[in-house]
Symmetry: C2
Subunit: 412 residues, 2 copies
């Protein structure tokens, strides 16, 4: 894979966020990583070892089986697949169908995999026993519905495998080739950010994906929009936040292009430290949490920040943002979904300890003007869970095996 | 890349056509080719050497530059790109824009490439001088418009490079990942069909692609149809043709699934022997020409064929048909285009020396019933050119360099 060269970056304490890079070629002919003024090449030989250390979490919810099969076919063969399903089990047991499709695929491809259902009472029992009752809804005694919760479950299973990296891929993707590109981008980015030989070598790293375009239906034709409205709103506010915190003038062009990135990957070391937020707040909250946790110990900071939650033990985190070549072709979930996504992003940004009063006021006003908040109300405090690293993993695994009937280990 | 196992095959003299195989995984973790009862794995290590011997021809005509750039990004880095353009040069010189995009891409990716324009007077002069005046329209003295002609030009340039394989990729493809998959399928298939270590080792080979699905707009929603109407019609008649010639009962299930395959690749050795037909007849005519040329020397033949044009010197040709994972997402050129495509396919099949009278009558009736032919008329005889191998390549190259102003050699 060939990526455009690293451009500017912004640093907030231990967190370095790089400007958006682009995929130039989906593969690369070089046999060793190389770079020049305009691009960096990460060969197959560097990507494969990362993939063999990577877990790919696929949160799914009622997607057609053939779409899920396509997604599976695009996940590089070295990666371990973890299906976290919240699909209906009644009147038809869609989860059973998903597991069967996963088993069939893995049997043919000689791959292992894991699968689990979000609303399995045994899963709730296991997380409670392992020290995270927070994720269990007291009303029904099951893990809360929501994407953030599915990701937290996936991250916990990923940690159990002993692998080093974890990535997330949505199940409603109609183009297997784009799933493949995401995973390769994860591996190429994580290689660049963590390998000893790299100029960027960092202990912990995250790779967040920006889509080249998102096909939409308009006037009966397929159009390829470059940016979704949700991304524009989320990124704009994140960049204002960052401009304030590092002291740039507010007219400085924005570095953050992936505030809502559903497709992202990271070192499991980082994943264990981060807190996961509920629902669609999960991805933007990763940025907030990284800045709060690791952003507080820099001599380059402007001093305007007074309440740093924790310096995360001085960890250095590098965030790469990469624009893929493939369009992101998925189900259109409608306007309401779009508003919900940026609202939850703004909720978590609003409540960050690093967000100044003036920015909060502006955000609140924006949300009211755009129908996301009633006048006089405060943005919601999204539920945030303790870091996955606080779990008692031995208890988690044991309880899952004993009580979670949906927990499937596919061996091949 | 992992493919489903080879199923049935049908043999007509020296030509063996394999049943459709499917892509199971876009990559493969194995480090050596391997197969079991259900699948065959072709690793990166086997694919790369084929790619380094492969020329990819991209015929283009007025596609948006960003779409062409996407296609380029998906062509594996080992492959040599040859752009054969028939884009407008007036009022805007789109070809110049294409060449600039190609140069920019190649400079960043450190790749060589070739480009040429179909309607360059110097190209017509070169083909005439090299022994193929047939491709030049006497009316304007330029190479005929049409996809077949673009492909013939591309094949001729491919032959000049000294590489061993050639593949074709349409320029109107919106999904770079699917372009990448096509090229990988070509390489995996050509590896399986021609490598000494393979069970299938054959001197010459062709890989033809069938799309998993073709997204269409219907009732304002995107639907993924499994088969286009054009393919259904073309393949049905090809299978009747084959059933007759190998003596199966006409109810035998059809082997041919790629009669109209625009996406295909072959050994250049085969490409030099085949004749190219004009326009959209080019792809179906490849099957007809292979059967006529190499299908005449088998002891398993039913004896019903009396007029074999040539046995092609006893060549063994293996045709693999492979269904990709990615949907084929391109411009909808409308109903008229679809009818033109299957009409030209049926034209060449109708006039094959291997097509019996009874099948011709049935085809003629079908074409009349579906508005592709007026009652009492005979299907058109599509223009067919001599094999590319008959060209005087030294003269072709010399004349191109001297006279074809659009002929661009991009070196990096």
């Amino acid at each position: 894979m060939r990526l455009s060269e690293f451009g500017r970056s912004i640093r907030l304490g231990g967190v370095t966020v790089h400007e958006l890079q682009k995929v130039i070629e989906l593969d690369s002919s070089a046999s060793r990583p190389s770079h020049d003024d305009t691009s960096t090449s990460v060969p197959c030989e560097a990507i494969k070892p990362i993939e063999r250390q990577m877990v790919i979490i696929v949160p799914c919810k009622n997607e057609p089986i053939h779409v899920i099969e396509g997604v599976l076919s695009g996940i590089p063969s070295g990666c371990l697949i973890v299906l976290v399903s919240n699909s209906d089990r009644d009147p038809e047991d869609l989860y059973e169908q998903e597991v069967q499709a996963l088993r069939d695929f893995c049997a043919t491809a000689h791959r292992p995999a894991l699968a689990i259902h979000q609303r399995d009472p045994g899963v709730a029992a296991a997380f409670s026993a392992a020290g995270m009752p927070h994720i269990v809804d007291k009303v029904d005694g099951l893990v809360y519905n929501g994407k953030g919760e599915a990701m937290l479950m996936g991250m916990s299973l990923a940690a159990l495998t002993g692998r080093r990296f974890v990535g997330f891929v949505d199940a409603d993707n109609y183009v297997p080739g784009s799933v493949h590109e995401y995973c390769r981008v994860y591996a190429a980015g994580l290689h660049l950010a963590t390998s000893c030989g790299s100029r960027l070598a960092s202990e912990e790293a995250m790779v967040r994906i920006s889509w080249a375009s998102k096909p939409k239906l308009r006037d009966g034709k397929i159009r390829f929009d470059r940016r979704g409205r949700c991304s524009r709103i989320t990124n704009e506010w994140f960049n204002k936040f960052l401009a304030y915190n590092v002291g740039y003038s507010s007219s400085a062009p924005g570095i953050i292009a992936t505030g809502n990135a559903g497709e992202h990957a990271m070192t499991i070391g980082l994943g264990l430290k981060l807190r996961f937020a509920r629902g669609y707040a999960v991805e933007p909250f990763q940025f907030v949490d990284m800045f709060e946790r690791f952003g507080g110990n820099s001599d380059r900071r402007s001093g305007r920040i007074s309440r740093t939650v924790s310096n995360g033990g001085g960890s250095q985190v590098r965030v790469l943002q990469i624009e893929t070549r493939n369009p992101h072709f998925h189900d259109d979930k409608g306007e309401e979904h779009v508003q919900k996504m940026w609202t939850q992003a703004l909720d978590v940004l609003y409540h960050s300890s690093l967000t100044p009063r003036s920015l909060r006021d502006a955000m609140g006003q924006f949300m009211v003007e755009h129908g996301a908040l009633k006048p006089g109300q405060e943005p919601a405090r999204e539920r945030v869970y303790p870091p996955v690293g606080t779990l008692d993993f031995a208890t988690l695994y044991q309880t899952l095996c004993e009580k979670a009937k949906t927990f499937q280990v596919v061996e091949n």
